[in-house]
Subunit: 245 residues, 2 copies
């Protein structure tokens, strides 16, 4: 009945329904207008995401999502030879995997609005503090992710969106426009604070509105209560609903 917005990504998507999360804010923004479904997979990179593609987005889905956000890269950009190297994906393959994901979604539905989101910036000091809080003295001295490398992945993501003619949110750049982004937007150097979540929410809503998927212009699924006549409620429902009960 309602159009669906699917959020496909890694832990930053999986955690998007925590208190102040960008996913729940999006569900609230599109309240009574669209459903928001989370398909977030903590720790996943784009190579692993490909295994899920046909399961989450089957080609024979008669009612494919109207909108899908693709938000990977934070794990792909983990460095080789460091603690998270298992998740590392070379940047050319990252771009290629993203392209496969977009192509698959467009095959599911040519009219689907597909939005690419770059990985956020990395606060290396924050990652170090986080690793120390977990592993103490055993924590690796070298960072497993750097802001510079995350930026390389972010640029490939933005470039791909241009190539494919689809919208992208350059979160890596956007967040760094704000003084003190390191602690303001990131809780552990990588994941989002409520303020960081607010940036993602705001950017996603902006891009969706630009693509004519505007909550203000979408109809309510059923009559607003103020237009229902207390004595003759059936009038308000006649156009939209039958009264089979």
């Amino acid at each position: 009945m309602r159009p669906e917005i699917v959020l496909f990504g890694d832990s930053i998507t999986e955690q998007s329904f925590r208190s102040g999360g960008w996913g729940s804010s999006l569900a609230d923004t599109y309240s009574r207008k669209a459903d928001v479904l989370v398909r977030g997979y903590s720790g996943y990179n784009t190579r692993w995401a490909l295994f899920l593609l046909h399961h989450i987005f089957p080609l024979d889905n008669k009612k494919p999502p109207a909108v899908t956000t693709i938000f990977f890269g934070a794990n792909d950009a983990a460095l080789l030879g460091r603690t998270s190297e298992r998740q590392h994906i070379p940047v050319e393959e990252y771009k290629d995997n993203l392209r496969k994901i977009v192509q698959h979604l467009k095959e599911c539905s040519p009219t689907m609005l597909v939005v690419l989101i770059t990985p956020p910036p990395i606060d290396e000091a924050g990652r170090k503090e986080y690793a120390h809080s977990i592993y103490g003295e055993k924590a690796m001295k070298e960072p497993e992710r750097t802001n510079e490398v995350a930026g390389v992945y972010a640029r490939q993501c933005v470039e791909l969106a241009k190539d494919l003619g689809i919208p992208a949110i350059d979160l890596w750049s956007k967040m760094q426009e704000t003084e003190g982004w390191q602690k303001k937007f990131l809780s552990d150097g990588l994941h989002l604070t409520p303020e960081g979540n607010a940036v993602v929410h705001q950017e996603v809503v902006r891009v969706l509105k630009e693509a004519w998927f505007s909550p203000e212009q979408m109809p309510y699924d059923f009559p607003h209560h103020s237009v229902i006549d207390g004595k003759h409620p059936e009038k308000a429902f006649q156009l939209q609903c039958s009264a089979e009960f």
Copy 2:
């Protein structure tokens, strides 16, 4: 693929994805295990809800929800002769309408877990302050809802659940067990604060667990990233996923 939890109700359900809301907390609790869909209709009573029933829950749905919460009564219990009388529903009809809703859902799927939630208690002083803040001196002096009357509706809701052998959450009683519930749980004498939302979340999770719909015992939809072999990711996906890309 994942089971669905549908939240059917009035504004307290519609607002459940605001920051700290019970709906988004529920989505987070069942992360990667179940989808949570909001079907909340601000201002609606059970009589108006009946018009939506066949649309939201069509009988021929091949994949009906696994769980539905029904959370009405706050508007039904609005008093006659006061500012919200348009929403008033006699208590016998309220009970009868709830019964029709439950019967319809069980017709959709006999195994659906249907949970009734009573209206919350009313803080009459809070409602008065709220009305004054909106209408100033023009605000009606008499409350449009009383805690006593909300309690009458709550008891009928609990009694119906007993009759039908389905679980109920007696929110009206539960909240009043806590000292200072009036301001702690209610923001305007009727709607929920983040603490009030936490009570609803906790109660819904408790009831779902008692009915064996426990997030801890439900499988992840896809492999946890820690079991994926960096060199041979396909192994972790072989059982569950094909690699058609």
